[in-house]
Symmetry: C2
Amino acid sequence: MKIGQLAQQTGTPVDTIRYYEREGLLPRAARTEGNYRIYDAVHLERLAFIRRCRSLDMTQDEIRVLLRFRDTPSESCEDVNALLDAHIGHVAERIRELQQLETQLQVLRACCEEGRQAAECGILNELSHGGAELTTPAASESHLAATHAGGRQHVPPRQGGGA
Amino acid sequence: MKIGQLAQQTGTPVDTIRYYEREGLLPRAARTEGNYRIYDAVHLERLAFIRRCRSLDMTQDEIRVLLRFRDTPSESCEDVNALLDAHIGHVAERIRELQQLETQLQVLRACCEEGRQAAECGILNELSHGGAELTTPAASESHLAATHAGGRQHVPPRQGGGA
DNA sequence: GCTTGACTCTGGAGTTACTACAGGGTTTCC
DNA sequence: GGAAACCCTGTAGTAACTCCAGAGTCAAGC
């Protein structure tokens, strides 16, 4: 099959498939005479595997490790367990961080009542003089991301997205 | 004061201060004869404000809005409230997503017992054939980030940060 | 006066995981 | 045989920095 069909069958944008090939997650595809990539069931399975890992928010590096174990099935899978445990740890930690953040934001939000002028806005004042509840920057140490970011998975620019 | 002192007093890396100036969050600093930036208390306050916002995981765009309100204190602060409410909403949504993710990962983790060979590793098998519990990619729609990422705030490689 | 070292400057590249082109070539269908 | 749909490569952009090279500035010590 061609790249478009593979894209459709796995729900992956065509650009992303080519990107995975560049990054070495997918092997270089064979080509037709007209230089089109051709794929078979093996590629499809591998791509589906990668996409499932990505849907679990694993990094490319983590996926690379898992793929290596998939490719050499005789080795012990201890490292797979360890990787997953670490990943779960990161997610749990990020959840804790975000919950703290949510509390802080709600405290901050409570500072301002509706309809004031910005000069007396409790939120701006609080952010200006720095309440005790607000942590200093540099909270996260792990490989966890900030709350926002540009690369939110592979969702296209418009579709009911951002703030 | 010079940039190094400002950096120290606000806990902000020097590079980041220059970056904020480039981005227009901080005004261009005056210069000494030797072309060194010089700052005063106004700069310090503004930078502290920015850093407090960043510690609350606000984007530069969000901070820009808040700064604009700070600079024009006669306007109503309704938009500040709205911005913060939206931000809280995003954080809450991301928490929910991550909690789902955590559950999925724990289910996956339970598939494999210790010390098997990769060929019979429950995790790899689950990721290969694709269990029903695993969502497809493209879960997040908002401006919230993935669980991992390179730019984790501004924490320098090693220093035992501020967490 | 000269050197050493700490500090600062600019500009550019790297980070993640894509996404979005531009400017072409190929296939397919009517 | 011509248009539409598909595919190709390569490059640049995203967020919020971080890191580096190569050079200039400044204060202190000898």
